[in-house]
Amino acid sequence: MAKIKPADLDRIKAAHQDDGKDWIKVGMSTCGIAAGADKVYEAFVEEIKKRNLDIQIKKCGCQGMCYSEPSVEVRVKGMPDVIYGKVDKEGVMKILDKHVCGNALVKDAIYELRTKR
């Protein structure tokens, strides 16, 4: 990688702007991993591949909601951004079945509502 110049900061920023695509973000800090976030992440990767879904899966740090780890933020076009808490394998299925494929949010599992961006 070539050393970057100050002007390159703008270029990198522009390249990483929100492209309107759907994504799922799993909180992968110590608190999340201790609660099983790595298994949740793997489950998402596997299921998304199996179902051939057009959704990105990403990792992020701790959102601060350690009481509800593993937490998963979901962005699907046309739906509000929400963070699901205490997600397990069953939760992964529900999120994919309902939220991602069915345009219906999963009940009793949302722990934080992100403001609409």
């Binding site: 100050p6 909180g27 110590t30």
Partner: protein
């Protein structure tokens, strides 16, 4: 599609009736033939507490609170059907949290530098290298009023100025990530969630004080944080944010990682320096301060992780912006690790000046159990407890100190009536006794002596003179210890005596622990009315302290009983009394 989404959650004090409201809401929709138009979602947490039924329309950014059953009809008829807002029910409070340090935590991939750059990362560094002289950075920081977040609250600008002004060809910049307070993990959260924000602050600090070499001193117990910092360093080198002629300027800076081997005292700056030098991690008397004579006797500045994570936003948005947040003497925000008997434990970042009550009840969601709040412990083993009477105190450095505690690095442990204050004091003091490096006498021997007095008290051997003895030794430790560990080790004891002397006296005079924590002061008895004579307790007692027969009933012999609590656990009829 085109559905209105409605979130509902009952946040009332009397049980959670979300499901009832949900059913009622669905019925109303059906009656009005609006099932297709709205999607009602029960949520597990809506971020608002003790406000009755909360109904939220995320697309409209409308939140109703204290919605009664009779109001639901109106909500459906007006807001769902016609899209009108009902002013009477609106919730107008601003969000309590303000995220500066945690701005990217949970947002970006911590292992991808591009995502950090996309959030304006390294822009502050570019700005500093292009337009700022070191003195300008110091000036901006002075305006911001930022104070060290490691605990003591020393003005960051002054620390940098002193180090900057010291004349030497070689200077060092250190990031202190040796977070060790029990129950505190703010720095871990930042390092794991957004390592580049700390790194950027560290590079700017290095530029300002005139250092060419920096160190990340991270405790080895944080393997994931270490891994992410290592990756961040590598990426920063690849991009040229580290190394020679950073971003085309004349400034060159290198950073290495040093791992702490698990000694709490190495969070103290002179001990930390000794540890990096490869010597045994013990403190030395100050002055000379590290700004004059630090690492390898060269001028050195040491800043905490959270302090450094504040630097880039201050440079980008200006010191005046930062100082507009917070109280008169404590500016900006503080990250707390909210733990203990609170519903929503986790990391919170709040502006200085918020009250403890707001943190615990509005952000933390209130108490975990139905037992009332008793006190809040802040500042870890160097801090103290703040009783519930002071919950409305605005949080800043000065106020917490007045209450006999400290801001500390940001641990905040909520305690309820089940927590025994003598036991808490014993726990924290025990921690410091374990972690004392043993170099100076007041800390090494004072701590040990205080701990034995506390042990005596909790083992029913306490005498009333012991309270004075504790205070006397505490004073000697405060005045004569070499470093902050010893000087503050007695704080948890002193502050619990200050607010809960009654409880100490109960232990000493009445030989009672009202929280049932100190097992030597407990007695287990069989409640005869409830006892079904099933003999489960008899069978499970490891020392055969329970005897009797089915006619006369069973009895615990206090002399044989070892207070293990097994009988209490196994009795299905709650027929064992613990008092």
């Amino acid at each position: 599609m085109g559905q209105t989404i409605v979130f509902i959650k009952d946040t009332g004090l009397e049980g959670d009736r979300t499901k009832d409201f949900y059913a009622a809401f669905l019925n109303l929709l059906r009656e009005n033939s609006l099932e297709e138009k709205a999607q009602v979602v029960r949520v597990a947490d809506i971020g608002i507490y003790n406000q009755g039924l909360v109904v939220k329309f995320p697309e409209k950014d409308v939140t109703y609170v204290k919605v009664g059953e009779e109001d639901l009809k109106e909500v459906v008829a007006k807001t769902v059907k016609e899209g009108k807002v009902i002013d009477r029910l609106l919730f107008k409070e601003e969000p309590k949290q303000l995220r500066i340090v945690l701005r990217n935590c949970g947002e970006i991939d911590p292992e991808n530098i591009d995502e950090y750059i996309a959030k304006d990362g390294y822009r502050a560094l570019a700005k500093v290298l292009k337009d700022y002289k070191p003195a300008d950075v110091i000036e901006e920081l002075k305006k911001s009023g930022l104070r060290g977040r490691g605990g003591a609250g020393f003005p960051t600008w002054l620390k940098w100025k002193l180090t900057h002004e010291t004349q030497d060809t070689q200077k060092y910049m250190i990031c202190n990530a040796d977070e060790g307070d029990p129950g505190a993990y703010m720095d871990r959260g930042v390092l794991e969630g957004d390592p580049h924000s700390v790194l950027e602050g560290l590079i700017i600090a290095g530029y300002t004080i005139g250092a060419s070499q920096g160190y990340f001193y991270v405790r080895a117990e944080y393997p994931l944080a270490v891994e992410r910092v290592e990756k961040a360093l590598k990426q920063a080198y690849d991009y040229g944010f580290l190394g020679k002629n950073i971003l085309g300027s004349n400034f060159s800076f290198d950073i290495d990682i040093r791992l702490g081997a698990g000694a709490f005292v190495c969070g103290e700056e002179t001990a930390l320096i000794a540890s990096i030098e490869g010597r045994r991690g013990t403190p030395r008397p100050r002055p000379p301060y590290p700004s004059v004579k630090g690492l390898w006797d060269k001028p050195t500045a040491i800043n905490n992780v959270e302090t450094l994570a504040n630097i880039a936003p201050i440079i980008l948005k200006g010191g005046n912006w930062y100082s507009s947040i917070g109280t008169e003497k404590s500016k900006g925000t503080k990250v707390f690790a909210l733990t203990g008997k609170v519903k929503n434990s986790g990391l919170v970042e709040v502006p200085m000046g918020i009250t403890l009550r707001e943190i615990v009840f509005d952000i933390g969601g209130g108490m975990l159990s139905d037992k009332g709040i008793k006190a809040i412990q802040t500042g870890g083993p160097s801090g103290g407890v703040i009783p519930k009477e002071y919950l409305d105190t605005p949080v800043d450095y000065e106020n917490l100190q007045k209450l006999g505690s400290i801001m500390g690095s940001g641990g905040m442990i909520v305690m309820d009536e089940d927590d025994c204050m003598v036991d808490i004091a014993k726990f924290y003091l025990g921690f410091c006794v374990d972690e004392s490096c043993g170099k100076c006498v007041p800390c090494r021997i004072g701590g040990y002596q205080m701990l034995s007095v506390l042990n005596k008290i909790t083992e029913s051997q306490g005498q009333i003179e012991d309270l004075d003895k504790l205070k006397r030794i505490a004073l000697a430790m405060q005045k004569a210890s070499l470093c902050a560990l010893g000087q503050t080790a007695a704080n948890p004891v002193i502050s619990t005596i200050r607010y809960f002397e009654e409880e100490y006296r109960d232990h000493i005079v009445n030989k009672k622990c009202r929280s049932h924590k100190c097992k030597h002061l407990l007695n287990y008895n069989v409640i005869q009315d409830r006892c079904k004579r099933c003999r489960v307790c008899v069978i499970n007692c490891p020392v055969n302290a329970i005897s009797g027969d089915k006619e006369k009933g069973f009895f615990v012999d206090p002399k044989t009983c070892v207070r293990c609590g097994k009988c209490f656990e196994v009795c299905k009829f709650n027929a064992i009394a613990k008092e």
